[in-house]
């Protein structure tokens, strides 16, 4: 205690310019090593952990918190996805049409290439990066389960995809409303678009993650996802055409389940009774909706199952 006595008197003499009142701020100049501080506050459980990972995934998909070059690709594709709605709105405004040239449910299918590219960029970021750099042990040594990681990544990617698709559809709605198209019809169509976006987002998210989880090398996953989504689309379109020509229209209509985009489009078309994208013919209403719906559910379930299986041994042996 007494050792502290000389200090206040020493400060004014050493620093004459300072007033006596500056004795307290002078004490602040000292860097105190307060040592390691312990934490006795709240520790959240799995719910918070999964939520945090999900939020981190969504942020990362859009390049937030990552270097500038990670932001370029997603935002360029989002830009491309948002330009057509603007042009459509402008064209209706100028030419005075009475309906949108492309419906809300058709829009995702007509932009399938851009959407496939977006998935191809996002899915490898979500899972391949952690596998490639061996980050999994760090996650697994935290209060969460393997399936929590899979669920958070799946949900994160699906929500990101839905946000992008929904944003494009919503811009289409804004354009339609600005051009004074009937509000009720447009809102109904937009709601259908939201359903399409949600189903497509979950399905593409699952497929993208499965491919990415098995292709940990940089670039390989991107290529594999583009190939899977676009080449499969092309092959299915070809098969459908061949089946149609050979006189098997029923077979042709069911072949659409093999392509994720037409699978979702067929399901929505038959469920909501809207026009099909690309003039495709799908199986008739009740049966078509049920079969396509079951295939979608089965495909999403299979993706989840494969992912959980894939992660069962990661980080342990």
């Amino acid at each position: 205690m007494s050792g502290a006595e000389p200090v206040p008197s020493a400060i004014p003499s050493a620093v004459p310019a300072r007033s006596a009142a500056s004795a307290a701020p002078a004490a602040d100049d000292v860097i105190h090593d307060i040592g390691f501080r312990h934490y006795d506050g709240q520790r959240f459980g799995r719910g918070w952990v999964v939520r945090s990972l999900l939020v981190e995934t969504v942020r990362g998909v859009f390049g937030l918190g990552r270097p500038a070059r990670a932001k370029a690709m997603p935002w360029a594709l989002i830009g491309i996805l948002l330009i057509p709605p603007l042009i459509i709105a402008l064209s209706i405004l100028l030419t005075g049409g009475d309906q949108l040239p492309v419906s809300y449910t058709q829009y995702p299918s007509s932009m399938s290439l851009v959407i496939a590219l977006f998935v191809a960029g996002a899915a490898p970021y979500c899972v391949s990066r952690d596998l490639r750099h061996g980050v999994m042990p760090l996650y697994l040594s935290r209060p969460m389960k393997r399936s929590d990681y899979v669920f958070a990544k799946f949900a994160g990617l699906s929500i990101s995809l839905f946000a992008v698709l929904a944003l494009a559809d919503t811009l289409l709605l804004v354009g339609a409303l600005l051009t004074k198209l009937p509000v009720g019809d447009q809102l109904a169509g937009w709601a259908g678009g939201m359903v399409t976006s949600a189903v497509l987002a979950v399905l593409l998210g699952g497929i993208g993650l499965v491919i990415a989880a098995f292709t940990t090398r940089r670039g390989l996953g991107v290529a594999a996802i583009i190939t899977a989504l676009m080449v499969v689309s092309g092959i299915v379109a070809m098969l459908v055409a061949v089946a149609d020509q050979k006189g098997y229209p029923t077979v042709a209509s069911y072949l659409h389940v093999l392509d994720p985009f037409s699978l979702v489009d067929g399901f929505v078309t038959r469920l909501l009774g809207v026009d099909a994208a690309n003039g495709s013919t799908y199986p008739p209403a009740p049966l078509g909706a049920v079969v396509f719906g079951l295939v979608i559910v089965g495909a999403i379930g299979a993706c989840l199952g494969i992912l959980v299986r894939r992660y069962r041994k990661v980080g342990v042996v």
């Binding site: 040592g35 390691f36 501080r37 312990h38 934490y39 506050g41 709240q42 520790r43 959240f44 459980g45 799995r46 918070w48 952990v49 945090s52 990972l53 981190e56 918190g65 990552r66 270097p67 990670a70 990066r129 952690d130 750099h133 061996g134 980050v135 999994m136 042990p137 760090l138 996650y139 697994l140 040594s141 935290r142 209060p143 969460m144 389960k145 980080g315 342990v316 042996v317």
Partner: protein, 324 residues
């Protein structure tokens, strides 16, 4: 200093609360047996887990974290069952893996904040503790740069920081000195010692080098091919060496004569200013000190010559020095 530390450690080593208990732990991978009927207790403080590559150290750590179910046997960590209470264990335990585990395109700050949240910390606390922890492990301005540009030493510090950021009760460090140069090794070992002494966090640290762990560990566990070879407190192991190296500025023979008169066993009059004395008890230290003071000679050093732990594992010396 040295002998006081050794005595202090002897008390720590006798600590009644083991932080890790393994009972008959066996784990096989197909035909390979990674751990075979391993029963061991690890006290608080720094525990060194020593074994060659493939001895089963990492398997043991994964079982303790509740990530790998044992084929048979039980493991308890901080009083919790590893097989059933993995989530609760992982909330208050930190783990630094042996392998590379850092993504390259984020900064240390962002990554550690993220992992702090993944340990259950609220966001604001996660940010605050990340800044603190990175400073404690010695990462300053560079923590805002992408990890891709870090040196091995800096990466090891980030790996250590993520294991400490949520203020665990115990950290498991798997080969933390791997890939470091000698200076980096020393710094890392110093840091590990501080985790136990200054941060009051128990440490289980693995290495295939016994020599580097004997400097910092309070307790050493040696496993080989999944079988426990030895579990011993370093204080116990080195206490009985009982030889004190004394160096004085002058008047060594006079001091030796005084000590002999007092009944001490002075051995090895090798150098002009140095000699060694058998450390029969605390009184010998006092006698050296008092003798030097009375004779007016400067005491340069009093160093307790500890046995190297490697000596423990020589079969012919086992009975003599270790387990008496």
């Amino acid at each position: 200093m040295d002998h006081r530390a050794a005595l202090g450690r002897a008390q720590d080593g006798a600590s009644p609360v083991p932080s890790v208990v393994a009972e008959d732990l066996t784990r096989t991978f197909g035909p390979v047996t990674a751990l075979s009927q391993l029963s061991v207790e690890m006290p608080e403080g720094v525990v060194g887990l020593v074994g060659a590559n493939g001895a089963g150290k990492s398997t043991l750590i994964k079982i303790l974290l509740g990530l790998l179910p044992p084929t048979s046997g039980r493991a308890r960590m901080l009083g919790m069952d590893a097989a059933t209470e993995g989530l609760a264990i992982r909330q208050i335990v930190g783990y630094m893996p042996e392998s590379d585990c850092l993504p390259t395109d984020v900064s240390a700050t962002e990554f550690v904040v993220h992992l702090a949240r993944m340990s259950g910390l609220p966001s604001a606390v996660a940010r605050e503790r990340t800044a603190d922890t990175l400073r404690h492990v010695g990462l300053y301005e560079e923590r805002y740069r992408s990890i891709g540009g870090y040196s091995t030493g800096m990466k090891q510090r980030v790996k250590l920081a993520q294991a400490l950021v949520h203020d665990p009760k115990l950290v498991l460090l798997d080969e933390p000195t791997n890939g470091l140069d000698p200076a980096g090794r020393d710094e890392m070992l110093g840091l590990i010692q501080r985790i136990s002494s200054d941060f009051a966090i128990s440490v289980v640290v693995t290495s295939h080098l016994l020599g580097e762990l004997e400097r910092i560990a309070d307790h050493i566990v040696v496993i080989e091919a999944g079988v426990l070879q030895r579990s011993t407190s370093t204080a116990d192991a080195t206490q009985l060496s009982g030889v004190l190296l004394v160096e004085v500025t002058d008047g060594a023979p006079e001091l030796v004569a005084r000590l002999r008169a007092a009944g001490a066993q002075v051995a090895d009059d090798g150098g002009a200013h140095t000699f060694t004395v058998e450390l029969a008890g605390e009184w010998v230290l006092d006698a050296v000190q008092d003798g030097a003071a009375d004779l007016g000679v400067g005491l340069v050093r009093m160093q307790r010559r500890r046995h190297h732990l490697t000596e423990i594992f020589r079969p012919e010396q086992e009975g003599g020095h270790v387990r008496s």
